[in-house]
């Protein structure tokens, strides 16, 4: 990608009043962020918080270092393997393909497969076996 394309991306960001833009193609990965977007004439949003701010239940959630994750398709209990006797669906270093089952989530005795939405290599499984997960919580980090 040459600088002209980057300029185009920057204009796109400005025109649409975005604060951040990410572009990915083949091995290129560009992220453009507008500095100090707060200085724009935005109304101050005040939202009340009480002294004991709510925390999301399924803490401790891993801090995700990349947006490259497979997320929970539903709320429930996450299982890394089909049964305690079976080996885990995936472990770090595994090559996975789009459509592979990488875990399963149980909600009210209904099991929902967690399916990879792209190819990749498993970098880290972010949630332990039998841990509760929220909808859209990152489960598996891939690279």
């Amino acid at each position: 990608m040459d600088t002209k394309n980057i300029e185009e991306l920057i204009n796109l960001l400005k025109e649409n009043d975005l604060t951040e833009l990410e572009y990915e193609k083949d091995d290129e990965h560009i992220r453009i962020k507008r500095a100090n977007s707060e200085s724009y004439a935005q109304p101050v949003s005040v939202s009340p918080q009480h002294s004991n701010p709510s925390h999301h239940i399924m803490a401790p959630k891993e801090v995700v270092t990349s947006s490259n994750t497979i997320n929970a398709p539903t709320i429930g209990v996450f299982y890394t393997a089909k049964s305690p006797q079976d080996p885990p669906y995936v472990k770090p270093g595994d090559h996975i393909k789009q459509g592979d089952v990488v875990g399963v989530i149980e909600a009210m005795k209904v099991f929902t497969n967690v399916v990879a939405d792209r190819d990749g290599i498993v970098e880290k499984v972010l949630v332990n076996n039998e841990e509760g997960v929220e909808y859209d919580q990152p489960l598996i980090q891939i690279k």
């Binding site: 109304p43 918080q49 004991n52 709510s54 999301h56 239940i57 709320i75 009210m108 509760g132 909808y135």
Partner: protein, 454 residues
């Protein structure tokens, strides 16, 4: 506050549940969380992806994302909500209004999973949720009902037959319905042929059932409803009534309490008969019996809502009873002292609706003596496109109706919500209309008024 409602030796001293999951969103979720916090009950907010920045999420002790924007996958997803309760250790669920609040399947699922639903049992919901069965049940329990079809109807031929017996004009309704969907007024057999299928298709799309129901149509009634509460021991009380006549396309716009059009003698009878009827239903919790009221003083049962009502604050103002607290205490097993609850003063509620989605860029909410605002919006909040547009309720309480109306006019004029379009202008207009001020409006009045102006 509510202690005087209960038998002294039986007020609940220890909660049988400690953490309440609020299976709703918007102002009612905030409303429920507030009372729970006063009572020392922990709260869990559940939310869709769209509502991640909602006030309820910020105010609750815990918050769980249960699904995407679409309500089928989030707010009415029974498995997701039960899971959220199990994962957080919530041992009670408050359903609010709308969504799963009148779902017998949800009530059953709570029971099966050992979670206390704040509301009546699935069986009672099933009975009262079916309009035909509900009508027969309350008729047996002593409430007057309009003439209606003896069974649910799924084809035009039966509709024409039954309509002949009841007499025109007739209201065609979806058996599973509410909120005006699948409803048509039919004046003749010819109109029935034209409108029945349309209403049925609408019902199928909205509620997944084409079972229809016919009832005698009262041309110009007012909508009067009675707030009731019942405990699991068969005691029931009425907490005054509300006049919800001001409606646009069957959606309430303004509500007032008490219903000053109803003469005291008839009012007392309505309240007593409502409480007596509910005492026979194995009902637990609060509920609302809706009536159509004619100028001649006759009134007919329309339906019973087995949940907290949007307009409950006006009843709270004139009774000094926190109805959400009452729900929680009844769910905890408190025993009511049968009594005539005395009301005082007058309260009016205006529902503020967003007419467009978007970010609220400027916000000024009113205040003053007797003013209450129930809302979940804040400056910078983005009103989503996906959910009901009701974003705030402004309530005024005072000693006389005239004075309350004047104060409401003043504070509606004062209210500022910018960045989105709202119905504030319409509310200001209604408040100035003589038909509203003089209580001569009927449930069709606002629709007719808007037709004239367009």
């Amino acid at each position: 506050m509510t202690s005087r409602l209960f038998k002294l030796n039986n007020s609940v001293s220890k909660w049988p549940f400690h953490k309440v999951l609020v299976a709703n969103r918007g102002e009612i979720a905030v409303r429920i969380i507030r009372t729970c916090r006063v009572l020392g009950l922990a709260t869990v907010a559940v939310y869709s992806e769209t509502d991640a920045k909602s006030l309820a999420v910020q105010l609750a002790d815990q918050a769980v994302c249960i699904g995407p924007d679409n309500v089928n996958a989030s707010y009415i997803n029974i498995a997701a909500i039960i899971s959220a309760a199990q994962l957080t250790g919530a041992d009670a669920i408050h359903p609010g209004y709308g969504f799963l609040s009148e779902s017998p399947e949800f009530a059953d699922a709570c029971l099966e999973n050992g979670i206390k639903l704040i509301g009546p049992s699935g069986d009672v919901m099933r009975l009262l949720g079916d309009k035909e069965q509900a009508r027969m049940t309350v008729a047996k329990a002593g409430l007057p009902v309009v003439k209606g079809s003896s069974t649910t109807i799924d084809n035009l031929a039966d509709a024409l037959d039954q309509a002949q017996e009841i007499g025109y004009p007739i209201m065609v309704k979806a058996s599973a319905g509410g909120g005006g969907k699948g409803m048509r007024i039919v004046n003749s057999p010819k109109e029935m042929a034209a409108k029945f299928t349309v209403a049925q298709d609408e019902a199928k799309a909205a509620f997944g059932s084409g079972q229809m129901y016919l009832e005698q149509y009262l041309a110009n009634p007012r909508h009067i409803e009675v707030q009731i509460a019942a405990d699991r021991y068969g005691n029931a009380i009425a907490l005054g009534e509300r006049d919800c006549t001001i409606q646009a396309r069957h959606q309430k716009v303004m509500e007032e309490a008490p219903a000053v059009v109803v003469p005291a003698r008839i009012r007392d009878e309505m309240l007593r008969r409502s409480a007596d009827a509910v005492a026979q239903l194995n009902y637990e919790g609060v509920g609302t019996i809706e009536f159509l009221y004619n100028h001649d003083g006759s009134y007919y049962f329309m339906e019973m809502n087995t949940r907290i009502q949007v307009e409950h604050p006006i009843t709270e103002m004139i009774t000094n009873v926190d109805l959400v607290e009452l729900q929680l205490r009844l769910a905890a097993g408190a025993e009511l002292e049968p009594q005539l609850v005395v009301t005082h003063g007058f309260a009016l509620e205006c529902r503020i609706n967003a007419m467009t989605p978007g970010k609220i860029t400027g916000l000024h909410l009113p205040g003053g003596q007797g003013v209450r605002v129930d809302t979940a919006i804040y400056q910078g909040y983005v009103v989503p496109n996906s959910y009901d547009g009701m974003i705030a309720k402004i309530i005024v309480y005072g000693d006389r109706r005239q004075r309350v109306l004047q104060q409401m006019q003043a504070i509606i004029d004062e209210t500022v919500i910018t960045g989105i379009q709202t119905n504030l202008g319409l509310l200001a207009q209604i408040l100035k209309e003589p038909s509203f001020q003089r209580l001569t409006a009927t449930v069709n009045w606002l629709d007719d008024l808007q037709k004239q102006k367009h």
